[in-house]
Amino acid sequence: MNDPAPSQDAFESALAARTAPLHTGSKSTRVLGVLALVLLVSLLAFALVITPPEVSQRDSFRLLYLHVPSAIVSLYVAFAITLVGSIIYLRKQSVFWDLLAGAAAEVGVLFLGITLVTGMLWGKPTWGVYWQWDPRLTSTAVSFVLYAGYLAVRKLDMDPVVRSRRAAVLGIVSFLNLIIVRYSVQWWRGLHQGQTFDVADTQMDGVMLFTALLGVITMHVVFAWLVIHRFRVAWLEHQADEAGLDVALRERRAEGANV
């Protein structure tokens, strides 16, 4: 027996469900999510099992397969997106760029937190201390505080346009500190080494170099997946706020009409 042909209503509701589901996922993010999971599992296998220990630092070196990619993604990708989004927002007042700047900053702070924690855990067996007020470490910690402040400004209870404008200014000013983070190892003598991984460094073992690159690629894919979802959540928050404002205005007008 043949199934009955779907009605026009069923087709339209299926299409609507496809374009606006009750979650933040989509076909492309599912593909990206599966890719991120495969890469994460591969990274764990290579970083913790397949790659041999480093000659002098032994197994603690494995932390750098997480530490360095997290640092690259947060300091040079996430906060660069926040910078660009903030500049464009101030020029065009585009909600898209404001929300994207906020989404990238939030995921960036998460990755920067991972950078700091893994760096401290690596520092203990390598330097003998978890923390040292070294220029690179200090400027990175300052960045963490600045971007946490940026996220706090975004949550202030005030006029959304003024709040977005202030956040954008802070998003631009905070980026200036990243120049200090980047060049701190060259400007001042400290504990932190210059470049941890160098693709052109032929002395590095092939598997170790591969794992380092795998870590960088993995963290970029995970970051992209998280930012897309965070942007969609931010968009929903924006729409929910506007819908709440519409309801409040309608109620106010109704009250005025009754007087």
């Binding site: 606006a20 970083a47 932390l63 997480l66 991972i114 968009w235 819908a243």
Partner: protein
């Protein structure tokens, strides 16, 4: 040597990313139910305006 630092490092990262992801997806689901269907996605909103 060093596994006592490596394992906590990877565990903290996994818990941080996993916890953040779960909280974000839950918030997305909760908000989706509150927002009208045609305004749930940025691109749909853009298409409406053009």
């Amino acid at each position: 040597m060093g596994w006592e630092y490596v394992i906590p490092g990877y565990l903290i990262a996994a818990v941080a990313i996993g916890g953040y992801t779960l909280q974000m997806l839950r918030r997305g689901r909760a908000l989706s139910a509150r927002v009208p269907e045609e305004r749930r996605r940025f691109l749909a909103e853009k298409a409406d305006k053009t």
